[in-house]
Symmetry: C2
Subunit: 318 residues, 2 copies
């Protein structure tokens, strides 16, 4: 981030026609944007949402309330404009891209060994990297992949330890028996992939999925290009967490868009040190919570960059 721009934005912020600090977190967001955009007047004019989709071998173990074919069906729904994320993208003026990743070839069941080969995870990372529009000024990555809360829980468990049950939630809505199966799969995943417990990128390869790795690739690309990112829910944050564990500062360009209703997301946000902007009980995926937060970040930039100063408006500064 550009400290000169941050300092310039902080000076401007102090002159705007409002009591000091009265815009709360909007002021923090404006300074954060200033640093990554390298200007004391940041603007959001070309936000991009990318949804990655992948299928998971662990679905065979009955970890989801929905059948695996829903992944491809929902990709069709995204392409047809009928999903929640389509409406949310339109509402905030964001470009929406959909990137299905080898849906006919699920990852391997990670209770039996690595979910992906080295070549497969690299291809998925590259797909994520390539999906980022270099001209975007705010990036959201979302996902669709039946079974992927189980994958995300296994990654979080590998990165941070604790009990498998603490990281495992109901996802799209499994019952008690399904939750017990998920928890068991999370526990067995780390047992079958010991390298995942010592190397974050091995956790991504062995316990992740193509869409999870692609999210990590896109977030890494944004970091290199200096594009601010809004993180979405539990799965997005699990992908992001592998980057943070691998490279300190890898998520400096990212804020948390929301805290999802998936129980372990709050813990994961805490581990990442990212307080959420929104807490509206969403647990949909698709980048939906982060997409909702685009409007908040846009508003922060608009207030900061377009408000009058005390001098400009001839208002007494108190």
């Amino acid at each position: 981030a550009d400290q000169v721009a941050v300092d310039g934005a902080a000076a401007r912020n102090g002159q705007l026609t409002k009591p000091p600090g009265a815009l709360g977190r909007l002021e923090d967001l404006a300074l954060w944007l200033a640093g990554w955009q390298g200007t004391d007047r940041p603007r959001i004019v070309a936000p991009q949402i990318v949804i990655f989709a992948g299928n998971h071998g662990i679905c065979a173990q009955g970890v989801s309330a929905f059948p695996a074919e829903v992944t491809a069906q929902m990709v069709g729904n995204f392409q047809g404009g009928g999903a929640a994320i389509n409406q949310l993208a339109k509402a905030c003026g964001a470009r929406l891209d959909v990137v299905p990743l080898d849906l006919d070839t699920p990852t391997q069941d990670f209770t039996q060994g690595p979910a992906m080969t080295e070549a497969e995870v690299v291809a998925a990372l590259a797909a994520g990297w390539d999906a980022v529009d270099p001209a975007t000024d705010l990036l959201v990555v979302g996902e669709m992949g039946i079974g992927n809360t189980t994958s995300a829980a296994a990654i979080a468990h590998a990165l941070y330890g604790g009990s498998p049950a603490a990281w495992t939630g109901r996802g799209t809505g499994v019952d008690d028996a399904g939750l017990a199966r998920k928890t068991d799969v999370v526990a067995r995943g780390l047992g079958a992939n010991p390298a995942a417990g010592t190397d974050a990128l091995q956790a991504l390869r062995c316990l992740g999925g193509r869409e999870v790795a692609a999210m990590a690739g896109a977030i890494a690309r944004a970091r290199v290009d200096g594009i601010p990112v809004i993180l979405d829910g539990f799965i997005c944050c699990a992908a992001a967490a592998t980057l943070a564990a691998a490279v300190p500062g890898a998520l400096d360009h990212a804020v948390a868009g929301h805290q999802s209703a998936e129980a372990a997301h709050a813990t994961l946000l805490d581990r990442l040190g990212k307080p959420p902007l929104l807490q509206l009980g969403l647990r949909l995926g698709e980048g939906s919570g982060a997409a909702l937060a685009i409007s908040i970040v846009k508003a922060a930039a608009a207030c900061h960059s377009d408000m009058a100063t005390f001098a400009e408006a001839a208002v007494s500064a108190g």
Copy 2:
């Protein structure tokens, strides 16, 4: 609210391409809008923000960090497009109206007797009533009035009891001595106006201000016309609380847009039974927190009314 429309919207909600409940509070908002718009497919196309401004006799007691002339200066800033609310209105596509109320004639100092005469409070209520565009489909009322957190604290204290200190905060940023003066003014306000302790509309007249009464008038008009309202911060909620205390159900058409950083706002929202949509540490007034929430409510309507059903998108319902 129209229960047939709510039931129709609930049925539609259950068929949309998402796991049940996965859009969290957005689903609640959609059903609430459906009831007030009388349709199972609510839409927000003409949101309106009205800012009322008034001056307060209690400013003479040193209750604010800003001089009273800032009220009129900020009205000029609103009219010139330079304030935060101008940027927020533009960002969410809302019409913004500014209604200054006799700024050259502050209310009376309520530590000496009623802030307003019967005629004055009725005129302010009517100004609020008349400011609502009958064609709007979502209303936000905001305020500008140096000294009005003291007025709001006095109203809340009169309505709900408790200690004056528990309702009194730093507003635009008074120091410890200023906070002590405000708390004393709140305590003396009720002492000088005993009728305010037994009649909510007398609390509005005796301890409120013109802009506070106008907000109450606008919220009441929206209730009568069936227009959904997003409540803003502490002052807006104090105005709304007088209606709720006077007429049960008077705020059924309203949701809380945000929880402000003004400490007593959380308590006031709790008294009103309105959980906030946003908690971003704002304490600006001007309707700013509620204006930010317009985007959330619009997104809720868009998801509900424009998403495909499982049947339309040929997605398996799990």
